[in-house]
């Protein structure tokens, strides 16, 4: 039941916040903040409550479940379930939710109510994606997060927002429809072999498929997740959407929406179609490596600060694909770790970019230079997160990428070596960002206010959690490992 509340709180608060905007936009902000904080504390409560049980590892990895009949005519259930993987990603979701609401406290002044409705409903959709174990419900939530995201970009975005929003929507919608067809194909094949109509993850996972059917259906799922992830060459929507979105939009896009793609790969693609996924793994991994290097090279060439950060996402998510398709314990742990840390570090970089843009009204690196002189706290934070992004040991991103490369090396040493080039190139773009924006002489004579208390607290929290993940990753890995073992058993039994 508590899982359903996570979603209901967000949906309800969204409506409430819109209504409240008639009287006061401050009230709207506080309602939204309270809702995300409430959800965050609920998930922390669940984490603590299950901290003891997590390591036991029973027959079922689900820590919490809600299962209601929804549309009985099709065998559709409203079935939410939580395991360690979902728990970690939900914690990230609500954390970044709080962060993005605080970050847009002064940025958004037009139609504040509708803005917060969209933010909260995207978060609700993402929560649904991370919790749904009924494939219809999963698709439902998957689609649900698109519309508010579209509005977020199209209404509050920057110069080329309409173009970016439509591109984003078309890419994700078309690939999503392919997944719907794949889900339905699986549903009917399951009915053919067992005689029952069900969308239940736990049942469909046991469907016997011919290898051609499995490959085609897997490709349907893969298309949706690869576009969302985004995997090279399906990434072209990403730089536009990230660059044009308002700060909250960029944070949610980079921090959360991309993770839904990675989550889908871990939760659905490999467990549902282990054979096909193994056959397909080399292709996916090569694309991942290309993404790592391509993203880094493109990031190095950008002059728009936000676009630069956007391309780094392509690079970092390449590591996640590499980890997922290596499918061993180390690599998977690395992939999940990368997902969490990338969410935080990239989110922070987008917030800093947003803060700079709010102050000097440009994102062009060429117009910055020497900001350290006038805004040392902001610039220091920029350096910190740029270093996190390049994989400095001691910060979370390093753990993630290191584990991925280590895990991949066991199965595909060549790809691991190629991937590690990406770590090297990351140094170039991260340091270039720092040198261009913050260091050097203040040639444009910028005199801007430094980070405010509100921004400072958010940034400090994000910096602190990255450091915690980097120095003490054990609690996170422990939470994830029973879920991973459960997935692993499924995959093993069907090989």
């Amino acid at each position: 039941m508590i899982l359903a509340w996570l979603i209901i709180v967000l949906l309800g608060a969204g409506v409430l916040a819109t209504v409240a905007a008639r009287w006061s936009s401050a009230l709207t902000r506080w309602i939204s903040l309270a809702a995300t904080l409430l959800d965050f504390s609920l998930i922390v409560f669940l984490w603590i409550r299950h901290a003891g049980h997590v390591t036991l590892g029973g027959s079922s990895a689900w820590l919490e479940q809600v299962d209601w009949i929804w549309i009985s005519e099709f065998g559709i259930h409203f079935h939410l379930a939580l395991d360690g993987l979902s728990l970690l990603l939900l914690a990230l979701t609500f954390f970044l939710g709080v962060v993005s609401i605080v970050a847009s406290w002064t940025e958004i002044t037009e139609s504040v109510g509708f803005f917060h409705l969209n933010v909260l409903w995207i978060l609700a959709g993402i929560t649904g994606v991370f919790l749904a174990v009924d494939l219809f419900l999963f698709y439902f939530a998957w689609e649900l997060m698109l519309v508010p995201m579209y509005f977020l970009i199209a209404l509050w975005g920057h110069e080329r927002r309409i173009y970016a929003a439509i591109k984003f929507f078309l890419f994700t919608q078309l690939s999503g429809l392919l997944m719907l067809v794949a889900i339905l194909a699986l549903y009917f094949l399951h009915h053919q072999s067992t005689g029952t109509y069900t969308f239940e993850y736990g049942d469909l996972i046991n469907t016997r498929l011919s290898s051609t059917a499995a490959l085609w259906i897997m490709l349907g799922f893969f298309a949706a997740f690869a576009v969302k992830l985004p995997l090279f060459p399906f990434h072209t929507w990403l730089p536009d959407a990230h660059t044009e979105a308002p700060t909250a939009g960029s944070v949610i896009l980079a921090g959360l929406l991309l993770k839904t793609g990675a989550y889908g790969m871990i939760r659905f693609v490999v467990p549902l179609f282990p054979g096909a996924a193994r056959e397909f793994a080399p292709v996916a991994m090569v694309l991942g490596v290309i993404g790592i290097i391509y993203g880094a090279v493109m990031a190095f060439g950008q002059t728009d600060m936000k676009r630069l950060v956007a391309y780094t996402s392509v690079s970092h998510l390449g590591f996640v694909v590499l980890g997922v398709f290596s499918w061993n314990e180390l690599a998977l742990q690395g992939a999940v770790m990368t997902m969490l840390c990338h969410g935080i570090s990239t989110g922070a970089l987008f917030i800093l970019t947003g803060a700079i843009q709010e102050r000097i009204h440009t994102r062009e690196l060429g117009r910055m230079s020497g900001l350290w002189a006038t805004a040392p706290r902001l610039s220091g934070a920029g350096l910190y997160f740029a270093l996190a992004s390049l994989g400095l040991p001691g910060l979370g991103d390093f753990i993630g990428e290191f584990l991925v490369l280590l895990g991949t090396y066991r199965t595909h040493p060549v790809l691991a070596i190629a991937g590690s080039i990406g770590v090297l190139t990351a140094t170039f773009y991260a340091l270039r960002l720092v040198q261009r924006a913050f260091q050097g002489p203040n040639t444009h004579a910028w005199a801007i206010p430094d980070l405010l208390l509100r921004e400072g607290v958010v940034i400090a929290l994000m910096a602190g959690s990255l450091l915690w993940l980097g120095l003490n990753p054990q609690p996170v890995l422990r939470t994830f490992s029973p879920a991973m073992h459960a997935l692993e058993t499924v995959v093993q039994t069907h090989r």
């Binding site: 549309i71 649900l144 929003a165 429809l177 719907l180 194909a185």
Partner: protein
């Protein structure tokens, strides 16, 4: 014909009575409210009489009409649609611009009668009778704004093309009768099995009938009239053409092709596949080029009928259910979308130009939100009826592995998103951009209009979130085609 037959026919009788009563009432006293009220009342009574008729089914009333649960289901859908159109018309024609709005309701009642005849028809005679009752009253309805050139043009275009397609249809029927000696749908299948029958003649006849049906459904390549008629007709009448007349024809299509056994011909299925693919592509691609909301909706409806054909072709019990469900969702959504156009238009001055919708959200947030819901439903986005409908259609297609059609549907509906998004972008673009329109937005909507739109929005969202009641109703009412 006995009392039982009359009770089963009660809905039809009540609709016919409504048109006469309204006509007499107008002769006695010209009052817009009275005419609209009587029509709504009569149609509601006809709707209520469905519950009287239901226990007496299935029953063949004369060889012409066969009243079964599935006919009653579509009758109910048509009546609900017509009632909504009556309310929309009342709001639309309320202003003083049109001096004689009362006769409109007589025509609506007659058109509804024709549609209901179509869904119960089991014989070529009743088929043609229903079709002509519907068409003739539609000529009047479409060019009701007789001072407007565009309205007259739309009416004439519809008249000429309908007449042409009706003659195709008649010729087809004549060929069938010539070859088989029967005009009853149920006897056609048995009669055409006889060895003496020339199958070539029957094939030609079926194609000719298909032309007539395809014209009314506005399937490609018989769709040419749609955008012009949609643009020229008054907005609530456009809603009627888009929903009631097409829904009735589709119900007839289902019945005819299932009862006559024509569905089993693989050549015919191929023709339907081509028509479906062409409709989906043409509808969605041509809509991209439009700058008028009514024309966009016209092309959108062409595409939607293409989706429906995909479900129709899947066959089996699932197809019947999917078509019925999709029609329910399509009715609610299209009526809602044209309802929004109606609210914003004044009689004789329809708000079509996309530019006049710019920034609507910022000064009319509620109407813009309703329009958003309708557009998202047309696009098939979750939380709306359109999503469940699209899901059902894709499921029907996937259940019999018609991958080509399913993929066409997927690709074209993604293309379709693009023009729905264009309208959405216009709705939400910021108000400081100049509104380049000469059309004044109607301020404030009348009460019946508001209620109707509210009910339609509620229906679209309720069906989208919890479709089970409708699904159960459909499964109880629709007899899956054999």
């Amino acid at each position: 014909m006995n009392a039982m037959d009359l009770l089963a026919l009660l809905p039809l009788l009540l609709i016919a009575a409504t048109s006469i009563v309204v006509m007499l009432a107008i002769a006695l006293r010209r009052s817009h409210a009275l005419a609209a009220g009587l029509t709504a009342l009569g149609l509601c009574a006809a709707f209520a009489s469905l519950f009287v008729a239901a226990p007496r089914t299935p029953r063949d009333v004369t060889p012409l009409l066969s009243i079964d649960l599935s006919a009653l289901f579509y009758t109910g859908l048509i009546l609900a649609g017509s009632i909504a159109v009556v309310f929309l018309c009342y709001g639309y024609f309320k202003s003083e611009e049109n001096d004689h709005p009362e006769e409109l309701y007589v025509l609506i009642a007659i058109a509804t009668l024709g549609s209901v005849t179509l869904v119960s028809a089991s014989h070529f005679a009743s088929f043609f009778l229903g079709l002509e009752i519907l068409s003739v009253s539609l000529y009047g309805l479409i060019s009701y704004e007789r001072e407007l050139k565009i309205s007259i043009e739309a009416g004439l275009k519809y008249l000429v093309l309908t007449a042409a397609s009706a003659s195709f249809l008649l010729f087809g029927m004549a060929l069938v009768y010539f070859e088989l000696g029967t005009m009853d749908f149920r006897n056609i299948s048995a009669a055409s099995a006889a060895p003496s029958v020339a199958s070539g003649v029957i094939a030609i006849a079926v194609m000719l009938i298909l032309v007539g049906i395809g014209f009314k459904l506005a399937l490609v390549p018989f769709h040419m009239w749609t955008p012009d008629v949609y643009e020229g007709a008054p907005a609530p009448i456009t809603a009627f053409v888009a929903t009631v007349s097409k829904g009735a024809m589709f119900a007839l299509l289902l019945r005819y092709f299932n009862q006559s056994g024509a569905r089993n011909s693989s050549a015919l299925l191929l023709v339907f596949s081509i028509i479906a693919v062409a409709s989906m592509f043409a509808g969605n691609l041509l809509a991209l080029l439009q700058n008028n909301v009514k024309r966009i909706l016209a092309y959108s409806s062409i595409a939607h009928l293409g989706y429906l054909i995909v479900a129709f072709e899947a066959g089996g019990s699932m197809a019947g259910f999917a078509v019925a469900f999709y029609l329910v969702a399509y009715f609610a959504t299209m009526l809602g979308a044209f309802g929004v156009v109606t609210v914003l238009s004044t009689s004789g001055n329809d708000l079509g130009d996309l530019a006049s919708y710019r920034g609507l959200f910022w000064h009319r947030p509620i109407i813009a939100s309703v329009f958003t819901v309708m557009l998202l439903s047309l696009a098939g986005i979750p939380l709306t009826a359109g999503f469940i409908g699209k899901f059902y259609v894709i499921a029907a297609g996937a259940s019999v592995s018609m991958w080509l059609l399913v993929f066409t549907l997927v690709v074209t509906s993604a293309i379709g998103l693009f023009y729905y998004l264009r309208v959405l972008v216009a709705l939400y673009s910021h108000a400081e951009e100049p509104i380049t329109t000469s059309t004044p937005l109607r301020q404030g909507a009348s009460l019946p209009l508001t209620w109707t739109l509210g009910a339609l929005t509620g229906a679209v969202i309720a069906i989208g979130c919890y479709p089970s009641p409708i699904l159960r109703l459909i499964q109880a009412m629709i007899i899956g085609p054999g």
